[in-house]
């Protein structure tokens, strides 16, 4: 391959490796440094949590990994290795299909992440047919299995339903199903449980946990909910004003926080 690659993937199960990423929002009159010199690693089968308050730049990182950041967001330096290839060095035309084959993303508001005018089946099959040249029938079968995989009951009827007919939790499962159609190596969950109530939160988290155990998916969990993190994450990155202020395993961070911001966050949780 002519793109910049890295062998670390095979050796250490690193799916996502962000190195020295800096990203600015270009505004009229000023530039905002949304992400500054960020380093982050997500490993196969592990849940990596990226924690920060609103506006700390954590969602910007997620969008940058997927290559769908805003037009005025300019990556000024750094590398994003996704499955061993630096996506920032890729030409635009290959970028989207490469990323979408290796990574999926789910958003905060599950109902808003589905097109209200297409049925669940149509949206799933659209994604499937876009990536593979197969017949509608085969795509239908894949969609069916995909819904079963995210523990949705009666997939056959569900396929014909519109998003407004489903609960928030079901919608989030559908978005997970869509994001994981091709068993991506990386699943980015951008505050997946913020819009859901507590019992449904637990189910969705369980679903993510299942995915990483069953499929070995690396999960990048973006959240400000430390309770969730303590429960399922393996590695934690604490982000503030575009900087990673502290990182480590979940035990390190929760038992022995070093940075004052981390302590504040933990104090806020108690």
């Amino acid at each position: 391959m002519q793109y910049k690659t890295d062998r670390r993937v095979q050796s250490e199960n690193v799916i996502l490796d962000i190195r020295n990423l800096s990203l600015d929002y270009i505004m009229p009159g000023q530039n905002i440094h949304a992400v500054v010199d960020l380093n982050l690693v997500a490993r196969m089968g592990k849940i990596t949590a990226l924690i920060g308050e609103s506006g700390s730049g954590k969602s910007t990182v997620a969008l940058a990994i997927m290559g769908i950041q805003n037009r005025n967001a300019v990556i000024s330096s750094g590398e994003i290795y996704l499955a061993g290839t630096d996506i920032l060095s890729m030409p635009k035309k290959d970028l989207r299909s490469y990323i979408s084959n290796h990574a999926g993303i789910i958003f905060q508001d599950p109902v808003d992440s589905l097109n209200p005018l297409l049925t669940v089946g149509e949206q799933l099959m659209e994604t499937i047919l876009m990536h593979e040249k197969i017949t509608k029938k085969q795509a239908c079968a894949i969609a069916f299995n995909q819904l079963l995989a995210v523990s949705l009951p009666q997939p056959e009827e569900l396929m014909k339903k519109y998003p407004f007919m489903l609960s928030g939790g079901m919608c989030q499962r559908v978005t997970i199903a869509i994001a994981s159609v091709f068993h991506p190596l990386l699943l980015i969950a951008d505050e997946p449980t913020t819009a859901l109530d507590v019992t449904v939160q637990a189910q969705i988290l369980h679903q993510l946990d299942l995915m990483r155990k069953r499929d070995g998916t690396a999960i990048l969990l973006i959240t400000h909910d430390l309770g969730v993190v303590a429960e399922i994450a393996d590695y934690v990155y604490i982000m503030k004003d575009g900087h990673i202020v502290e990182s480590g395993t979940v035990d390190d961070i929760f038992c022995d926080p070093q940075h004052i911001h981390t302590r504040q966050l933990l104090a806020g949780m108690l």
Binding site: I68, R96, I105, S113, P116, L117, L118, E126, F164
Partner: protein
Amino acid sequence: MMQVKTQTIKRLNAWFRSYNGIINRILTQQKAVVFGFVLVALIIAIAIAASVIAPNDPLKVNMSMRLEGPGSLYWLGTDNLGRCIASRLIWGARMSLIYSLCILGLMMVISIPIGLLSGYAGGRIDTFIMRVIDIFLSLPTFLMALAIVGMLEPGVKNMIIAMASVWWAPYARIIRGMAMQTKQQDFILAAKAAACTHTQIIFRHILRNIAPPIIVMATLEIGSIILAIASFSFIGLGAQPPTPEWGIMLSDSKEFMQTQPQLMIYPGIAIIITVMAFNLLGEGLKNAIQD
């Protein structure tokens, strides 16, 4: 066939449901809309069935029966050439609707792609298109349309071209706004993340979601288009005699205004009712969607 039908109904249902029970609100809160809807349905039915309903040939001249009063043969009497007024009114409904749908269609064909492109692409393309739209908005549209028809040649085809080419601008602007709004939503991001192409996103995700407001906008516009068509025909730049068209009927009868005022009153009432019906319907739909 049956399955297609249920599919369509389901789809429509989803559409309306996604706008928070729009139908429900219309039916319960807005009697005027229902009235408008019934009138519009009636007018469309009359237009479609014109050839069946009309008692006489609208073009047939009967010089021995000029300016007759209402009777069993000529329901509303005859005009200065002995043509059946009722038949001409009924055929006029068909003409008005066909012309206004042509104009509306052409306007949408121009404004939807331009608006979508402008809203979705953003940046310099958007700025350029918006400046062009500003130019069109600053022109007095009716005068421009008159000038264009005058330059080309009076006639229905040129009237349609002229009106569509000066009136698309505000629609393109509204469609651009809606496209920009829809573009911000998460499901567009999700579609991008799934590597949807731009065309797919624009047509499958954006256009589909802004279609209902566009339809409402169009309904609201039909009234004024019909009025404009009648005006054009009245001053002789639109449909040409002897076409049974309301504007032409008005213009033909202006010489008899003093002695036979009903010749002007009938087409006048037809225009008023039609414009009012479409405005009531459009206004009500607009309110229902905006709430």
